[in-house]
């Protein structure tokens, strides 16, 4: 069996909710040894819906189950002296520590980077926060919608006459989690070459703001401010409704566009007209064009059109529901969905590898831990605490 890419990398995971756990999931799924530390109340993500069969319970949140595969789970009360001492023992032989508390929390627990560095100078500490570890918004509160607003993505998302939108669910958190995993490995690479650790500062706002196109640069290059576009703006690549869902037309990439080919493909002779056959004409008659296109697309079947377009190398896209994604022949061929067995919910289907590494494959070795599942293994075997010590720590509510 080939090893994971990060075999031998030891990660101490103090994260909760989404951004932090996604970063350590990426590390764990590619072979790192991740110990997830939870408070006795458990990661709040354990309480986020949807749940397995709609039954609440600490091991039934589908999001939590997904975000914490391949991790070992321990409980530790970091507000007690014994708790933070035990954490320091774990810091001693860890390569990476990831946390996503609000910026003041780690130092209030006596776990700021200078203290951790004293114990382990080669430690890579990664802090993920809404606005990073410095600056005037440092202590601002945020969730995904606030990050969309302050990251610059919301203003250009949604209908022309309507309020700006965000994506569903937790996109800002996932972006930051991915970036934190990358930053952790960049710092670890440096550590492996030099022996020197550091404190990495990852910002969720900057995760959004570093992934925009034609936004800030439209202003710096022309003085123009982008906005949400009307659906009928002469842009041929907007989502159109079909008889059975939605499709994303695209007459072709690059700079050339043969209008006759588009007209022929759409079987729409009324578009073969000088009102539409140049890009400036289409812009001038945008609204009329949009209405004609709406009518044409409503007669089409999205998958038939998607396949026919791709045969002609038009890069059409198809908009799929969760049901359609799960049934999709391409995902099936690539073995994207995997079955993982869990002691509470049994075997269920999870999204698998975001990318394939042929030498060091993604692997689902173990499901998300139950609360404190690996206390004995980590405190007993790794730190060498005796059975009676563990009992005492339990009695003192340290673990």
């Amino acid at each position: 069996m080939p090893q994971g890419a990060l075999e031998g990398v030891k990660v101490l995971d103090l994260t909760h909710h989404v951004a932090g756990p996604y970063s350590t999931k990426l590390l764990a799924d590619f072979g790192a040894d991740v110990v997830k530390v939870e408070q006795a109340s458990g990661d709040p993500a354990r309480r986020i819906p949807p749940f397995y069969h709609d039954e609440t319970g600490p091991d039934k949140s589908l999001l939590f189950l997904y975000l914490n595969t391949n991790k070992q789970g321990i409980t530790l009360n970091l507000k007690t002296r014994q708790g933070s001492d035990l954490l320091m023992e774990l810091v001693r032989d860890s390569d990476i520590l990831v946390e996503n508390f609000s910026p003041r929390v780690m130092s209030s627990l006596g776990l700021d980077y200078p203290s951790l560095k004293e114990i382990n100078p080669s430690l890579v500490m990664v802090s993920i926060a809404n606005f990073g570890q410095t600056g005037p918004y440092r202590d601002y509160k945020a969730n995904d919608i606030v990050e969309y607003a302050l990251g610059g993505l919301m203003y250009i998302f949604g209908g022309y006459h309507r309020e700006p939108l965000k994506h569903a669910l937790h996109q800002a958190q996932f972006k930051a989690g991915t970036n934190a995993a990358s930053a952790a490995l960049i710092a670890l690479y440096h550590q492996r070459l030099t022996g020197i650790g550091q404190h990495v500062d990852v910002s969720i706002q900057e995760s959004i703001a570093s992934a925009l196109r034609d936004v800030v640069n439209n202003y710096t290059n022309t003085g123009a401010i982008r906005r949400r576009q009307p659906n009928h703006s002469g842009d041929l690549t907007r989502i159109r409704q079909t008889s059975d869902g939605h499709i994303l037309p695209n007459p072709g990439m690059g700079l050339g566009l043969d209008w006759n080919v588009v007209v022929e493909f759409l079987e729409a002779p009324d578009l073969a007209d000088d009102r539409f056959n140049t890009s400036s004409a289409r812009l001038a008659n945008a609204e009329e064009l949009g209405e004609i296109l709406d009518r044409i697309f409503q007669t089409k079947n999205k998958y038939e059109m998607f396949h026919a377009a791709n045969q002609k190398r038009f890069t059409y896209g198809v908009i799929q529901s969760a049901e359609e994604v799960l049934a999709d022949e391409q995902f099936k061929h690539r073995g994207y969905f995997v079955e993982i067995d869990h002691p509470v919910v049994g075997t269920i289907t999870y999204p698998g590898a975001p990318f394939l590494m042929d030498g060091t494959p993604w692997e689902a070795k173990s499901p998300a831990p139950t609360l404190g599942q690996h206390n004995d293994e980590v405190f007993g075997k790794r730190l060498g605490c005796a059975g009676e010590d563990l009992a005492r720590l339990r009695a003192l509510e340290v673990i």
Partner: protein, 469 residues
């Protein structure tokens, strides 16, 4: 410029404060965003990225969004999005339809650590640039292919844009207004999702190579990376047979959460009250203490059930406020709130300013583009910081450096390569995109407005440092 040796394990131990990827050499055959964005991040962190371009098939971003919308002269060295995606890279041109061009590429691969590309698999197969081909010339090469749907499978032959993969992944279907269909932002959003995962994948492969000496093939499906970020929607169907549908800005269980109008034209604020104390503070800041006692809103479940009614009432109050002022009042009371920043607000945001998020790069004098600020990175590594930024290369700017100094072609050979059309400095069939005048773009709704004093505003807020020229 010095060219560091390509194998990090043989390199002398870098000094502390050196960019961490110094000594890693990457050959990039990228286009648009997915691979170029990822390689830019690695270039920022010290990797030497040599970007291949074709004079015959001009990169789209060289011909669009041109500085001042002026497509005269060498417009291909003034594309805003090209600069955005390609800083800190070295640029060479190479005609791969000629044997000599491909031979030069193979020679480059033989002295490199990573080969990164985002063409459709058909193109890579035609050029015989698959992993199995490359490992014969460089056994420990790491190859990363980023494609819409993956390098294998029934859809692998399909080209894809970001929006196409956003649609295929399940993300678009669940996003949008509650009373409308699927929706997407005005950027190829999932190109970045793929790029972010690609940086991670390459780093994981580099870690593995550092430990074992082995390279490998990384097959990034842009759709899969996006699906990985909507797990609960996919699992809810797999487990509970439930199809998630769009809810606009609403939270599935908390209210209020939404985007509300403020003073001014197209000005908005996002607000989310996540618990009782935040709700009470929100009412107090808005001067509507009466809502705290109102039965419709007095506790969480009632607020959620009456959220549409509450949104209408909130909008009446928020309209009286300037967005930034309301944000600061609410945040001071611990309520999550954010002004909806447009591109100008974002560039001049005081928080990003203090964190030095936008970095000023000086452009080549021939472009006549003044120094401009560019978004940097979502991370800061104080112990091994990013390199001092250089702008994206002019077309063929580093032909002489790479082919001449690195591959030891002499002047006569270089002239011959140019004569044979293997290398060049300009597109062979230039076709810039003339964007409509700004008045027209505002009229059709592509732009909110435009300002004529932007050059002074930008240079005032982002003066060029001595280093940036």
């Amino acid at each position: 410029m010095t060219l560091p040796s390509s194998t990090p394990t043989n390199a002398p131990l870098p000094a502390p404060l050196q960019a961490p990827l110094m000594g890693v050499r990457i050959i990039e055959m990228g286009q648009l965003i997915a691979i170029p964005w990822a390689m830019k991040m690695l270039a920022d962190m010290g990797a030497q990225v040599i970007r291949l371009e074709s004079c015959e098939r001009l990169e789209s971003y060289r011909g669009d969004s041109v500085y001042l919308n002026d497509i005269s002269g060498e417009f291909w060295n003034r594309g805003a999005n090209f600069y955005e995606q390609n800083r800190n890279k070295l640029g060479i041109t190479l005609n791969l339809s000629k044997d000599e061009g491909l031979a030069i590429l193979r020679q480059l691969v033989s002295i490199s650590d990573i080969f990164a590309e985002n063409f459709t698999p058909r193109v890579i197969k035609n050029f015989k640039l698959e992993y199995e081909d490359l490992r014969k010339i460089r056994p420990d090469i790491i190859m990363v292919s980023s494609t819409g749907y993956g390098f294998s499978g029934p859809w692998s032959g399909f080209g894809a844009t970001g929006p196409a993969t956003e649609g295929a992944s399940g993300l678009a279907y669940i996003s949008g207004y509650a009373d409308g269909g699927p929706s997407m932002p005005e950027i190829p959003y999932t190109d970045y999702t793929a790029g972010e995962h690609t940086v991670y994948a390459v780093m994981a492969a580099l870690m593995h190579r550092l430990r074992t000496g082995q390279g490998q093939f990384i097959d990034v499906s842009q759709t899969q990376t996006a699906s990985a970020t909507v797990p609960e929607a996919l699992m809810d169907f797999a487990v509970n047979c439930r199809i998630t549908t769009p809810m606009g800005n609403q939270h599935p269980s908390l209210a209020p959460q939404g985007c509300y109008p403020c003073q001014g034209d197209d000005r908005w604020i996002a607000i989310a009250a996540e618990d009782e104390s935040q709700w009470r503070s929100l009412c107090q800041v808005l001067g509507r203490d009466d809502w705290i006692q109102d039965k419709r809103f007095s506790q969480g479940l009632a607020r959620w059930e009456n959220r549409l009614e509450l949104d209408v009432l909130l909008a009446v109050e928020t309209t009286k406020w300037e967005a930034h002022r309301l944000m600061s009042y609410l945040q001071n009371q611990g309520v999550p709130a954010g002004a909806v920043l447009d591109s100008k607000d974002l560039l001049f945001d005081p928080h990003l300013k203090e964190r030095g998020f936008y970095e000023v790069l000086a452009h080549h004098p021939s472009t006549k583009i003044p120094p401009l600020p560019y978004a940097s990175r979502p991370w800061k590594l104080p112990g091994s910081p990013a390199v001092a930024g250089k702008p994206a290369p002019l077309m063929g700017e580093h032909n002489a450096l790479i082919l001449g100094e690195l591959l030891c072609r002499n002047e006569q050979e270089m002239a011959q390569l140019e004569e044979q059309g293997i290398i060049g400095y300009a597109p062979s069939n230039p076709q810039p995109v003339q964007r409509p005048p700004l008045d027209e773009q505002v009229r059709v709704g592509r732009m909110q407005r435009y300002e004529t004093d932007f050059q002074e505003k930008v240079s005032e807020a982002f003066p060029s440092t001595p280093e940036s020229g």
